[in-house]
Symmetry: C2
Subunit: 664 residues, 2 copies
């Protein structure tokens, strides 16, 4: 697979940023390279599969294009009832798996954010994509998208393309994310790319900030944005959260909430949207000790790992234990490894196919300069590999940025049990002598002297003692000046210290909930022929935990007694907190046989794990979605049997052993 660099400054874990761009590029690259390897049929099959899934999702209201009756708005989607329930279940599991089990501090901050905060984080300056405009109509396009489309179209549709041209376009696709604004502009001109809809000329590319802008308060004097991520709300609260945690490290804070990105031209349906739910964790840790007390609990897990080295040498991702990754130094530290393990457990518990889940390490040039190591949980879908969780060791960058801009020190303290004697370098300047020697340049020289690190100062000390003078490169003046012995004295002094003050490192697992949901839909979906074989029926094999509705209740015929029994069962399900759907569709009552089959098909399509058919007044048939096997259970017992299986206390196999099977 071709590895791409990322053009845009990595502000945040990738999918919060140009990441989507990065992914798209990769996906296209993968797709086009695949098309040279695999038959067109393979790509068409993927496309057809996606269409079936998406049609089912839309028809059953897992999601709905927002404001549809007004023509909709690109990149905005509603979750309809089953989608909303699946999302709530996934978030509940996230809270249980991360917040509760790890004793994290959950916070909830506003979406509306003043500009100051996002200036400090770098978003105001750098959270951009490059855009071009149709010079006549003003319609906007992403510059890289147009070039990508141009290359793909030519590669796919022009049979007379020379080998040379083919190689060139393939190379362009590979390096697209590394090109500068200027280079993109030149490329658009050279290839004669015009606006897709009108064929009009295009403007030069220029950066467009992806944040939705607004204004806080009535006077318009406080510029604000909708947050592009939830993480900043945690960073600005670090001081209070550290105090709340008893001034102890490590600890993690978490937040679930909406984030916003005003995409230039959203594509890829649910994967690239303008408003989305993020679940983010900021785990604060002493940079000198990134071990994790619970590391042993994940060390034997073996997810597919796609290390930097594997990528560079063109090797595939491979299964390797997290313990080994740490001992070999492939993953930077235990805490990062621990979260890779926890993310793996979370995703597979949801129903993500572990053979289509990999952790891909960022290449050196994908990572921001300050990042220690980053791994993305990528899930394979019909669009290719989708980054769904970013797990990054961002070192002290975020806390330092906010310390600097706010003036509030976001630091941690390590109190020593005994005070420690440390040697400190002391540089004493004779300002009068420096003034006489350097006059107007004095300020810059003084700054250069004060900014010397320990090593530089020790060299100067030795030089001054040996030679009586030493050279000093003053960058601000762009010249070398001569420092004399009478101008500065450098010494080491012993000092008592009672504590160590430091900026914690932060390890950030960041979950794109919408992307996880979409991949989960694809991994859970399958079709099977109907009983009489004349149509394909759709099924979502959601685990009970995730299923939007846990159980269906069908009276087999429309009859007061059966309806009353169904009602009684419904009440006991509600009392146990189990969501259900009751279907008393009257029109099928004459054709009991067909009717039940059709009703099963309707609930299978929603991924409902169990269906209760009320076919007598004392006992009922319980049918499992995937095996289609059935058991008979007494009416009074059925709600608790459903609960047992939904909560994972018993498996279907357990139940099959305990209850009679009517068809056997």
């Amino acid at each position: 697979m071709q590895i791409l660099n990322r053009r845009v400054f990595s502000l945040r874990p990738p999918f919060l940023r140009s990441h989507a761009a990065f992914y798209t590029a990769k996906a296209y690259a993968t797709a086009s390279s695949q098309q040279t390897h695999c038959s067109v049929t393979e790509s068409q099959k993927r496309e057809a599969f996606r269409q079936t899934v998406v049609n089912t999702l839309e028809r059953r209201l897992f999601y709905i294009p927002s404001f549809k009756i007004y023509g909709g708005v690109t990149g905005l989607y509603d979750y309809g009832p089953p989608g909303c329930a699946v999302k709530a279940n996934v978030l509940a599991l996230w809270r249980q798996h991360f917040v509760l089990e790890e004793n994290m501090l959950e916070v909830d901050c506003p979406c509306v954010t003043p500009e100051l905060v996002l200036k400090a984080s770098g978003h105001v300056e750098k959270f951009t994509d490059l855009m071009v405009k149709d010079e006549k109509t003003g319609t906007c396009y992403r510059a890289d998208h147009l070039i990508k489309d141009y290359c793909r179209d030519n590669l796919e549709k022009d049979p007379n393309l020379s080998a040379e041209k083919k190689a060139e376009l393939t190379r362009v696709l590979a390096v697209l994310d590394d090109l500068s604004v200027h280079e993109l502009g030149v490329m658009i001109k050279n290839y004669g790319i015009t606006a897709p809809d009108t064929k009009n000329a295009l403007s030069d590319p220029y950066p467009f900030n992806l944040m939705f802008q607004t204004s806080i308060g009535p006077s318009g004097s406080i510029p604000g944005y909708l947050r592009p991520e939830t993480a900043q709300g945690i960073f600005v609260n670090f001081k209070d959260l550290y105090y709340y945690n008893g001034n102890k490290l490590p600890f993690a804070a978490a937040q679930i909430g909406q984030a916003f990105r005003n995409e230039i031209s959203p594509r890829q349906g649910l994967l690239r949207v303008r408003e989305f739910t993020l679940a983010e964790i900021e785990h604060f840790v002493d940079p000198d000790d990134k071990s994790h007390p619970k590391f042993s609990e994940v060390s034997e897990l073996e997810p597919f790992m796609f290390s930097r080295e594997d990528q560079v040498f063109g090797r595939p991702a491979n299964k390797i234990s997290i313990g080994e990754l740490i001992s070999k130094g492939i993953v930077n530290n235990e805490t990062l490894g621990y979260f890779i393990g926890r993310v793996y457990l979370f995703l597979t518990r949801l129903g993500i196919d572990e053979s289509r889940l990999r952790f891909r390490q960022h290449l050196g040039n994908e990572m921001a300069h300050y990042a220690a190591d980053c791994w993305d949980a990528e899930i394979e879908s019909s669009y290719g590999w989708i980054e769904c969780v970013g797990i990054a060791d961002r070192s002290a960058f975020d806390l330092q940025a906010h310390t600097e801009k706010s003036g509030v020190p976001l630091v941690a303290y390590e109190k020593f049990t005994e005070p420690r004697i440390v040697e400190k370098l002391v540089i004493t300047l004779d300002k009068r002598e420096l003034g006489l020697a350097f006059k107007g340049d004095q300020k810059m020289v003084v700054e250069a002297l004060e900014e010397m690190d320990e090593n530089e100062a020790m060299i100067m000390k030795v030089t001054l003692e040996a030679m009586g003078e030493a050279d000093l490169h003053v960058f601000a003046l762009d010249k070398v000046v001569v420092i004399k012995k009478n101008m500065v004295s450098i010494s080491k002094e012993k000092k008592k210290e009672h504590q160590r003050v430091f900026t914690p490192s932060v390890i950030e697992p960041s979950f794109g909930i919408g992307r996880i949901l979409y991949c989960l839909y694809e991994h859970s979906f399958y079709t099977r022929p109907s009983k009489d074989g004349d149509e394909q029926l759709n099924v979502f094999r959601f685990p009970p935990l995730v299923a939007p509705i846990k159980c269906a209740v069908f009276p087999i015929v429309q009859n007061q007694h059966y309806n009353e029994t169904a009602e009684r069962i419904s009440k006991s399900l509600t009392a146990l907190g189990i969501s259900y759907k009751i279907d008393t569709t009257a029109e099928f009552s004459h054709y009991a046989g067909t009717s039940i089959g059709k009703r099963y098909a309707r609930t299978d399509e929603l991924g409902v794990p169990l269906a209760i058919t009320v076919d007598s007044l004392s006992s009922v048939t319980v049918r499992e979605r995937d095996s289609k096997q059935q058991i008979r259970v007494y009416v009074d017992e059925v709600a608790s049997v459903v609960k047992e299986m939904i909560e994972g206390v018993s498996t279907w196999t357990d139940l099959l052993g305990r209850y009679p099977n009517p068809s056997s």
Copy 2:
């Protein structure tokens, strides 16, 4: 109590609107009238109580002013760890109590909303407050706030105020919300009100739209807003949701999400904020049948009800059963009554004191013209009575508005089992004759004829038959014209109809989650003296369901064995899904007595219901927060005992009977 009208067009249930304004006015009015009755001490006591609660909430991070390190932004708050947990618990209960138990269709729509949708709903035109500007600095103020402050200040601080002036200012406070823009402007001029901070002159008042504005997409061509409520997302999806529900009425849809209001000058801390969480239900029902199948389940509940009549005649709210309210016609219909009952059960289950909860009916002039009936759940706090839930029968208004603007009919169908024969009025016009008679006015005359309702048409028919001609008032022409027999024929014809097409009514319970939380904090808070009586300790008496953390674990001394036992207990709590806080503060280990007391105090202040003190390796002490009573439980059993009580399976009294009490 003085009853006020509301100035601003009631777009939505009150607290989504100027409502806050309405409430504030009422609160002030109440407060000022109280000050003539009660001693100043009473008002000071309320203020002092509020300060203690708010200090505790801020110190323990129930909430935090957002972006505090940057100086904060008025009207934006973060929920810190305990606040976030309480909120999550309240929302989980809401989902259980409403969505699950009532089989509602939950949806999740974006915050970013295109202008078109909010034009249809009326928000673009009418979601405004009246604002004045400092003419020199441009600082903005709410016009009504300034007048309120002026009146209150004079009433409270001027001992020489004449009886006449007193009466005038009291009257102004009472009618403030009914005044027009012009009247407010005149009042500001007449009273010589200036900008509070600078004493500069003020501009005339003008309407300021309270929605945060933004722009969707890169070209700036799609104006958008942050939604001021979640309800519109449900209305625009009515057609799909009705289909999803098998084209059956009644059904309810629900949504939990963020809403935004760019307040001119937020006051009252957590009660008036610029971003808040709403939980809204839209229950769609046949306007001809607003009965509710589960009404009997609430009919015997007796909340405090404050009917229109009670308010008008100055009678206090009184306890009355919901059944009686319906049978006496005080509440408009069963469905509205059912929701009043369900809201009452929800709020009291959370821990709201039912003696400080009332349902207040809107007065005729508070309601929008289309509303059939509205009741607000108001909770008494140190600020006065706060509207926390609005329950409104909004008739067909919202669906009709979106039908009209989108062109998509948002209607329901009632299929008849047998086709029905109905008489329909048919008006046939002779356009030639009309044209000859009215020439240029013909169009307006034709429209007037076509718009006649059945009654008008029948009168014309009779008149034409009797007299040969009839008068017609054409409003568009502002004159009466004479219609002759040869111009129009009016008849009744029989038609077969297979179904009835109608716009459903919507009954909307709408919950301001932040306000409910704040009132819950006040109702749950109390203080009690410490053991040695030298300080007052704070306690939140949250029910276990709501408590942010369910249980604390304290090893009595710092010792490996005790710590290991505490760790074992923690693991079993996690396995049962119970949140806990472990406190192994080392510095107290030498003074075990004091230490435990202090640790209890710290967790009481977070409202943690149970504390487990690890004081032996085989059994532990479990202490209940409010009674401070203790029981001894075996280590292996303790997690399940905690779970029993947290989930309401056993009460503390049950446990006291079952386990030994060490202090007895």
